[in-house]
Symmetry: C2
Subunit: 344 residues, 2 copies
DNA sequence: CTGAAAGCGCTTACAG
DNA sequence: CTGAAAGCGCTTACAG
């Protein structure tokens, strides 16, 4: 049956309310009432309509409905990479909130490319999503102004919007980084390296600021060879780490600026005879099972997502407050690698 | 400006082609031509229309377009949990293929709940997605028959569809499990335990079948206390592992049925004095940095996603072949834990 | 090169 | 309790 049915009814042949109405011998509006569970239909009429619906395999076309209703009951989430485990819990948290509000989630990766971010965001606006949760790749979001003015609720997460005022939900990158570095200092380190993400990324800059603040508060000088911002490609991170460890002013501890950097640094350190202390920004699975366990500054990615999505739906429910900034605290989790002392 | 503009133009006040036409002093169809880059508009007219578009902040409403065009240029992906790192690369791969075909991706988690899967899938059908990629939670997909008959292309991934014929892309669970267990046997083990997912999940059953086949081929008996299928909750896995290790016929090696099981088993083994061999189904980040490195049977999740999405778009492009089944090979990666010998 | 009319599948506003 | 008409914002098919 499948093949024939498929080839003959393949496209555009779905039954409509009009078809159901004709088959049930009622008006269009009556079908609409039954489909939407509105009152004012006799049980007998309702039954006839239900039978026609079942017989024809009718399913309401929500994209027609949307056109009349205004709201699409869908939101967009633009993040950097759907494959990055850091974004999984955030993604899921946004989905749960959307689901609670009866909305679907359209997802996309910017691949850290501002042009791709813009293309994706504007495609979502063209689909008339009710709102957007954006982890920005770009630094200029003025392209969103007409959309926001037209009523597209927009919340930025993890990094702030550029050149426009908008709601934003951030982790405490500065505070978390300062805690991490202060932790290493408290364990006796004086020469500490920082390997972070590209300097155009807000969190990288904030974490560098936290690193400098902790060093400064302890009265420790920072040799500029101890700071390396750049891509998170393994080769770049590896050579940055090696330069710091083997350079003229070798570091005794490293602070890595995000989970991708940490992973590479762990690999580099695993191949070395002498232990080097390490604290990483971002937690990751099994960090406690490596030996020593990796001390991290954990972000609460699920809470980041939940907070952003809740804010979004508050806006959609009509909240008309000025743009807000929410900061989610981080948590230092000691596991061993950050408590290693400097060599005697 | 933002606040006033937002509160006055908040909803439903986006400019339409009609507004653009009025402002540019042209007909509706001319605006449509300019917006869609169709030929047959003089440069001068085009310029006037473009000016009106910019002045009004017009953006074409794709959801109206969709209603006329038939295709929505969107596909749905229903997986188990957006937060699960295993699905990240699959998700991203599906997105990339969708993007190559100009389609957006609507995402959702079934939370391993058949009712929620169905609800989500039917909501996607109501939105008239062109196609669906489904990692099924349920075992009866007859509810999809009218949708498939109406032309919704559907591809199942990771687990087959239940009670209907449909395209499916699977990892070689049976072969991978057999390889894993044969590997342990080759390293001298005779008493090997298997801790897997719930028996209603197809992959769990296939992997159990692979386990039994390998044992059988080696002429080894299987004590039924060595097999435990069930939830992947840490408590369940922990007690299953402990029962096998401390029971009357203690195992010397474990084969864990998926990444969540493996993670818990690694934790259990880390707390034990005597080394126990382990091979896990599914690779995970940093598996090589734990000591010993965790030997795994790796699935190619990205290829799973890419294959499924490509098949989907082939269907959308009119391919009218009978339902296909594609099997993606797995790969055993020895890292140490699977090469541990049994105690002397 | 340009545009008026009809229609996609629903909901809204209204009348009986 | 029921339904005919108008309209959401586009595209299609056609005419000038």
């Amino acid at each position: 049956m499948t093949d024939t049915a498929r080839s003959t009814t393949r496209y555009g042949t779905r039954p409509t309310m009009k078809d159901v109405a004709a088959r049930a011998g009622v008006g269009l509006k009556t079908v609409s009432r039954v489909v939407n569970g509105e009152p004012g239909v006799t049980p007998d009429t309702e039954r006839r309509v239900q039978e026609a619906i079942t017989a024809l395999g009718f399913r309401r076309n929500d994209s027609a409905r949307v056109l009349r209703k205004g709201r699409t009951a869908s939101i967009g989430l633009v993040l950097e990479d759907l494959a990055d485990p850091f974004y999984g819990p955030l993604n899921r948290a946004v989905e749960e909130v959307a689901r609670d509000h009866g909305a679907l989630l359209i997802n996309g990766s910017s691949a850290e490319d501002p042009a791709r971010e813009q293309e994706l965001v504007l495609a979502l606006c063209a689909r008339r999503v009710d709102g957007l949760v954006i982890i920005p790749a770009g630094t200029d979001h003025r392209y969103l102004e007409p959309e926001i003015a037209a009523g597209v609720a927009t919340v930025f997460v993890d990094r702030p919007a550029g050149e426009i005022e908008a709601d934003v939900v951030l982790s405490d990158s500065f505070g978390g980084a300062r805690d991490a570095v202060a932790h290493l200092i408290a364990h006796g380190h004086r020469r500490i390296g920082f390997i972070g993400d590209q300097p155009r990324i807000h969190t990288a800059v904030e974490r560098l600021r936290g690193y400098r603040a902790a060093m400064d508060e302890a009265g420790l000088p920072v040799d500029e060879s101890w700071v390396a911002l750049g891509s998170t490609e393994p080769e770049r991170v590896r050579s940055a780490a090696e330069a710091m460890l083997d350079g003229p002013a070798p570091v005794t501890a490293l602070f890595s600026g995000n989970n991708r950097v940490t992973v590479t640094v762990v690999r580099v350190l695993a191949g070395r005879p002498r232990p080097v202390a390490l604290v990483g920004f971002d937690d990751f699975e099994l960090a406690d099972l490596i030996s020593p366990g990796i001390t991290v500054v954990a972000q609460d990615a699920a809470r980041l997502g939940r907070t952003a999505a809740s804010l979004l739906f508050r806006r959609l429910d009509g909240a008309d407050e000025p743009p807000q900034q929410r900061v989610i605290p981080t948590r230092l989790i000691p596991r061993g690698s950050g408590e290693l002392p400097p060599p005697a």
